[in-house]
Symmetry: C2
DNA sequence: TGTCAACATGATGTATACATATTGTCTTTT
DNA sequence: AAAAGACAATATGTATACATCATGTTGACA
């Protein structure tokens, strides 16, 4: 033990990549909560590898903004504050508005348009499912499907405007929001319809080469999304502050 | 030798930071040219440290886009292509336009305005110096001062719009352009005046809260800059292709 | 009982040894 | 002489040992 486990079924190529995927998954799943310290040694033991690949994975996660490091002390999972959420959405707004304007000026390939429309329609399908199920809101697994469809829609917009660097920045931004955004409540049918309508309107404006309309629509879409996130954040923050104050009152002085 | 050199005059804190600064400087100075392979071992010997801090510095530079890595092969200094330059400027345009629009909507503190104006005026001062010197174009050292003043101007715009993340992305982008942008010829008096006028107009528009005018001006400013870079790039590319073809004709078949 | 120094502990930073993969070269073979 | 294969050189990937720093605990002393 200790040596390399020969060459069994190594899903991902390098240990570093495996470590990266593992840690990111732990963070995304909420297993590693914000403000939690992550130790190289502990992770190394968990994954049965040395500190080196762990260390490199952590460095990458720091570069991507998921972790924070204080020299000679420790590595913490970041805790997004209200202002961070605002800044991330502003960054997205700046880039997606630019992409929409550019896309609206470009000739649009029918195949691209078709795929784009498809991503928007998936949301309607979710709504239909929801109504048939008789429930009022989407379950967690369905919310995940929604997130995927939503991501695909926005990614398609970026792909049309063919700028790999912008796509990368937006994706990094979305990753941060997705991981650290507070749990949203499951959407109801009206919300889904609303989002689909916004997406459809954006597609139509871009297809019609109406630059100003597309700008207006995508701006409003993103700002609505921001408002929703902030609302979830405020609810969460209120809960946290309650949890912090109640035990201090009812708990025994010491133990 | 081999052990750590106790604790002499270590300018930067960690070896990793020293390595990072060293490598970046070598790249920025043109010492390490694009497409050049950089070896961990060689750098480690040059800096009299082990491969570990070098490796971490290289990883960071890869994350920032200055280096490219191919697994199990080597690490190369990137070579920006024409499309890369376009994409980088588009990214800047998206973000700076957003920043300008936001800044134009915000109340502007007089002290900020004053500093901003100051950065713009430094360019005029360079022009005055140039005219007094009797030369036609700026020397290399003066071009460096120009670059600093220009950077300060744009940074100020970003600072006013108070979004740390956007500032970071723009700065990373500018770093790439500055390092890998082909050498620009020294500016002449007219060019300096022109740039100053554009900066001054942008300040005025933002100060007057004229969102649309500010948008138009900053857009044009950045696109002009892009055109200039592309022109320099095309000249450089033509030279390179000449240098590649001439020796092949006149050089002896082998040696 | 309060304070402070010594120290145990566990973190990161760095050095180094070893494993493995790739490439160019040199030899061998045809 | 050309092609193929062995092999040296060198690259990165990983493991591990050691150094250093920060912190919380313990225990002696005022």
């Amino acid at each position: 033990m200790g040596r390399r486990q020969s060459s069994a079924l190594n899903a991902a190529g390098s240990l570093r990549d495996r470590a990266y995927a593992y840690i990111q998954r732990r963070i995304a799943s909420g297993d590693l909560k914000p403000e939690t310290a992550v130790s190289e040694l502990v992770l190394a033991k968990e994954l049965n590898m040395s500190r080196t690949p762990i260390r490199e994975a952590l460095n990458q996660l720091v570069a991507e903004g998921l972790l924070e490091q204080t020299p000679n002390r420790g590595t913490l999972v970041v805790q997004l504050k209200r202002q961070d959420i605002i800044e991330l959405y502003e960054l997205r707004e700046a880039l997606e508005v630019y992409a929409a304007r550019k896309a609206a000026r470009l000739p649009l390939r029918p195949s691209d348009l078709e795929r784009w429309q498809h991503f928007a329609d998936e949301i309607v399908q979710l709504k239909t499912e929801l109504e048939k199920s008789g429930k009022r809101t989407l379950r967690s697994e369905q919310m995940h499907r929604f997130a995927t469809a939503d991501l695909s829609f926005h990614n398609m917009l970026m792909r049309i405007s063919v700028n790999a660097r912008i796509v990368k920045v937006v994706n990094d931004t979305r990753l941060l929001i997705r991981i650290f955004g507070m749990e949203r409540p499951g959407y109801d049918a009206d919300t889904l319809q609303n989002i689909h309508d916004q997406h459809a309107a954006i597609i139509a404006a871009v297809a019609a080469h109406d630059v100003e309309l597309a700008t207006q629509l995508i701006t409003r879409h993103i700002r609505t999304s921001l408002e929703e996130r902030l609302q979830a954040y405020d609810v969460w923050e209120r809960e946290v502050s309650l949890q912090k104050s109640i035990p201090a009152i009812f708990a025994p002085p010491h133990d």
